[in-house]
């Protein structure tokens, strides 16, 4: 996907100050809410029509929760979700039905996300049944068409999931997501359970579909290289907040947030010995989202942290010398160099 593809599309799926706190219960003698896991804490993001938007971060950063909030699988604690400008944050099941058919999800585990007792035909036509859609040519015809689209044999219509390999199952999941011709697909770690050679097959498939069908993708993953490969724009999350967002080249070529630098620096790279990079090694682990650090949440692992970082949470803004739309949340942004990250050519 090159940079000229539809970057300026209309905002399709928008999160405004989106927040999800899971209550923590405890206490004596009667259990009550004593705290909250701040899984997602006031994030703003915009997925535009036809673009592929990557959401990266380490485990527990809230990226999967964000995906589930945007598809309304989870109820947000605060904030708004807009789909094509319409507020769907509190939409009822009924009001949501037409929107649901346009926002689909692909899950990580190709083994757990398909009902083992249903045939592939039934699995893929499921969304059509639920929404009462009968495409011209009938549901079965549409399923066969979808199987072909995702690179499976249409004759396998009556087979069961266990007869397929992991990569093929993920293709079935993709076909199911495409059944209703969605406008947005939220893909939560769609390739991380797959072996490298199979992973590439699915990545290529998703890329081809995105290009050919013009679907917007929210691609959630922990693998920075995969996200770079498939995304036009990328957001980096840390402990429930977005720390940096921008085009792929902004994030991978001119990152400003120290965390983005550290992440990129930690990715093992083939040929490391040839051009030794500046190595940033974060110490310790990600703090608990129940009691996140005050101010900037990254400060406890940041080598640049000063008093101000503890006192004041940095807003997500355009840093000096950053391109338009390249926002970072740091009081002391790094210079826009590519020292830590290998050049994106």
């Amino acid at each position: 996907m090159d940079d000229t593809s539809p970057r300026g599309g209309e905002p399709l799926l928008v999160a405004e100050k989106l927040t999800k706190h899971f209550p923590v219960r405890g206490g004596f003698p009667i259990k009550r809410t004593v705290g909250a896991v701040q899984a997602v804490d006031g994030i703003d993001l915009t997925v535009r029509a036809g673009e592929s938007f990557g959401l990266v971060g380490e485990s527990g950063c809230g990226k999967s929760t964000t995906g589930r909030l945007l598809t309304r699988l989870l109820e947000p604690s605060a904030g708004r979700i807009l789909y094509r400008g319409e507020d769907i944050t509190r939409a009822s099941r009924k009001e949501l039905a037409p929107v649901r058919s346009e926002i689909q999800m692909i899950f990580q585990d190709p083994y757990a996300s398909l009902n083992p007792r249903h045939t592939v035909g039934k699995i893929i036509s499921g969304p059509m049944e639920i929404h009462g859609v009968t495409p011209p040519g009938g549901r079965e015809g549409r399923v066969r068409e979808l199987l072909e689209t995702v690179g499976l044999n249409p004759e396998h219509y009556n087979r069961f999931p266990h007869e397929f390999s992991g990569g093929q199952r993920q293709r079935i999941g993709v076909a199911r997501a495409l059944a209703l011709e969605p406008k947005v697909v939220v893909a939560d770690e769609p390739v991380s359970a797959l072996d490298v050679s199979i992973q590439a097959q699915v990545v290529n498939l998703l890329q081809r579909l995105q290009r050919e069908l013009g679907i917007a993708f929210l691609f959630i993953a922990h693998d920075l290289a995969v996200v770079r490969h498939v995304s036009h724009r990328v957001a980096v999350m840390y402990l429930g907040r977005i720390v940096e967002v921008g085009t792929r080249d902004d994030i991978y070529g001119r990152p400003r947030h120290p965390y983005t630098h550290a992440l990129l620096s930690a990715v093992p790279v083939l040929g490391d010995w040839a051009s030794p990079r500046e190595r940033i090694r974060l110490t310790g682990d990600v703090p608990s989202p129940i009691a996140p650090p005050s101010g900037c949440r990254f400060r406890t692992r940041c080598w640049k942290a000063r008093d101000r970082c503890a006192a004041e949470a940095p807003p997500l803004v355009r840093a000096p010398d950053s391109a338009e739309g390249h926002l970072s949340a740091c009081h002391f942004p790094e210079p826009p160099t590519t020292a830590a990250a290998p050049a994106a050519r």
């Binding site: 490298v196 083939l270 040929g271 090694r281």
Partner: protein, 338 residues
């Protein structure tokens, strides 16, 4: 002179209800003290099975092991359990992938570290506990005197993996087998753990086998590389040579499948078509031939009928001539990798 660890013509077969699984088939490699060998392969390639065989950890009732595994002159295959028990955790230790399931939830971290130390050195409970604290400190756990009494679930993922390394190193093993030690971890923590393994090797001079599916992980960490596919070694050599100028079509496929930070984003990935073969009935000849694009170049039916040998040292188990292997990589593969 014999190598510190020498595996010769190893084959491991499991009998299952569906038939015999040929998990490892005719594998040979050697490893010297102070060196690190990376074994790379996808799931089912036999990389973990091989290393469980080195420690004799397979269930003899369902596993048939043939070939030779010499660890410092001691034959491991068919050795009595009493001999193996004295070596395990002592001369040769292992680190597993998922530290949450690989540590027992019922005992404190300290006790699990101290256990092999007491067993192998005969140390007292007190000495072993001090040793556990010292080991936790060495692997970088803050406040080891306190954390030694914690249970694994009270540790974070990265700390648990450190504790597992402490447990493996408590008896100063000469061979350390790390089976996907960082796969369950986040990148920033993965980097910490890989650095730690490197530092500890500098200190102890142990030989390390690093098993992984991630070519990126081996790139900066190992000396030699062994690429496995369907239970066989398909390519081996010093890691830089293998990664700079790989010779086997499967290795090319792996590299082409990996999205890389340094690669051009305009090039689509070039995945390997098809899926790995069933080990119940592996294809005859070269196991990779059903997915290989160079079968027609070899001529005749060689790829389908004749099993290619792996040259010792540096080389690939492929019927393409060495010259052709070089030129195909230089002309067709290298440009695509960007």
């Amino acid at each position: 002179m014999n190598a510190f660890l020498s595996v010769r013509d190893l084959s491991v077969r499991f009998s299952t209800e569906d038939g015999t699984v040929r998990a490892v088939d005719g594998l040979s490699f050697t490893l010297e003290r102070g060196r690190t060998l990376g074994i790379v392969g996808e799931s089912g390639s036999g990389k973990s099975v091989t290393n469980l065989a080195v420690l004799g950890l397979h269930d003899p009732r369902t596993t048939e092991i043939r070939g030779e595994i010499l660890l410092d002159g001691q034959e491991m295959t068919g050795a009595p359990e009493s001999v193996l028990e004295k070596l395990r955790g002592n001369k040769a230790a292992m680190i597993f992938q998922d530290s949450l399931t690989a540590l027992s939830p019922y005992y404190t971290v300290g006790r699990q570290i101290a256990e092999p130390y007491r067993k192998h050195t005969g140390a007292s409970r007190r000495e072993a506990r001090l040793r556990a604290v010292e080991m936790l400190r060495r692997v970088g756990i803050p406040q080891p005197e306190l954390r030694v009494d914690d249970y694994p679930h009270q540790f974070s993922g990265g700390m648990r993996q450190r504790a597992m390394i402490a447990m493996a190193l408590v008896c100063d093993p000469e061979l350390l087998i790390a089976d996907e030690p960082t796969t369950a971890l986040d990148v920033t923590v993965q980097a910490q753990i890989l650095d730690l393994l490197g530092e500890l090797q500098q200190e102890t001079g142990a030989a390390i086998i690093l098993i992984t599916h991630d070519l990126g992980v081996v790139a900066g960490t190992v000396d030699d590389l062994l690429v496995m596919y369907a239970g066989r070694a398909v390519e081996q050599g010093p890691v830089r040579e293998v990664l700079r100028a790989p010779r086997h079509p499967y290795t090319w496929g792996l590299l082409g499948s990996m999205p890389r930070l340094a690669a051009s984003v305009d090039e689509p990935l070039t995945p390997i078509p098809g899926t790995p073969p069933s080990l119940l009935a592996p294809p005859p000849g070269c196991p990779f031939h059903p997915r290989c694009g160079y079968v027609s170049e070899v001529g005749g039916d060689r790829c389908r009928t004749e099993r290619p040998g792996l040259p010792p040292g540096r080389g690939a188990a492929c019927h393409l001539s060495e010259e052709r292997q070089r030129s195909v990589f230089a002309e067709q593969i290298r440009p695509r990798l960007g």
